[in-house]
């Protein structure tokens, strides 16, 4: 049983989280999903909906797959030393680190993207790059697989990246069954980026 740890913070982007979680949650026999935030409390997304976290940073269990979403909240959280330090430690311990959209800014700030290839949201790209001067930023990409760390471009691209990761971890047959169940039109080419 692996643990997917989903980091939440005020003003996270709802679909950054919900698209990937929708997909990973079909694998609950293989993965448990834990929602983590600075405190265990209701967290308001940038899209009105408030969601409940399971556990605080200090009490989070061991995380195999660390998931970091984006959203307007990242503009504040890049300057939150406690959160950034937690990301750094947990990313080192994790088997896989996933970043969606401006979640890459948090990963970069924690040093997780140093000397790695990564991507991020197009409209925030220039700002995100300032958070990671030692990163090889790839602007034209639906997602970038750098081995242990995989990052996607904006919001909806995170769902494609997650399906790619599920295919890598659990096989294409399981990924394709998910696609049928959710009637999700999967964009399987990471280099095909209509928003670049």
């Amino acid at each position: 049983m692996k643990t997917l740890g989903v980091l939440l913070f005020d003003q996270f982007e709802l679909l950054d989280v919900a698209g990937p979680v929708e997909m990973f949650a079909y694998l609950l026999e293989e993965i448990q999903i834990v929602f983590v935030a600075e405190e265990q409390k209701l967290i308001k997304s940038a899209q009105c909906l408030s969601v409940m976290t399971d556990v605080s940073l200090d009490h989070a269990p061991a995380i195999d797959y660390l998931f970091v979403p984006g959203g307007m909240g990242t503009r504040t959280e890049v300057n939150n030393p406690k959160l950034i330090s937690w990301i750094k430690t947990r990313a080192e311990q994790a088997e896989l680190v996933l970043g969606v959209c401006t979640g890459a800014a948090l990963l970069a700030r924690a040093g997780v993207l140093d000397h790695r290839k990564a991507t991020s949201n197009k409209l925030a790209f220039d700002w995100v790059m300032t958070q990671g001067p030692h990163t090889d930023w790839i602007r034209r990409a639906r997602w970038v697989d750098d081995g242990k760390v995989i990052t996607s471009s904006g919001v909806a691209a995170g769902t494609d990246m997650s399906l790619y990761v599920i295919g890598r971890l659990f096989g294409e047959a399981i990924r394709d069954a998910l696609i049928q169940k959710t009637e999700y039109i999967y964009h399987q080419d990471p280099h095909l980026d209509p928003f670049a």
Copy 2:
């Protein structure tokens, strides 16, 4: 200012709600979004994440756009007279009714789809049809626009339907700006259904 009323119930499908809400929430100068459930409390989705409702059925404000998601919870809720009666009343009063996935089963049970064209999730289609014997069910469709009532096929199709509705209500320029912001690859042809 219009009100989008999003109905929630235990075991709703997370992406049925989060995809459309992601899009409508970019229009918060035009629309307020209210999350409604039988009681005002935390509601657990079928994908682990628990979300907070704003208001109970009894205290919900006037709703211009009624939104009904699907999910495993619909199998129970079709037999919930209070919820079905609320949907019937609020759908009559609404300007527009949107159903995603097996949300169509709830709408059908409430009589909202009588003598209308509608669609639903492919894998649950036969069951959903039994809930609406007076509906003209369209199996091959990403979504079906029957004027006041618009229904989509499974899960991810709800996001395409929502972008279509946003285009219809607010214009294609606003819809296209949303697509850029969220890097969402929009499938604009309701008849092109790879899952049929």
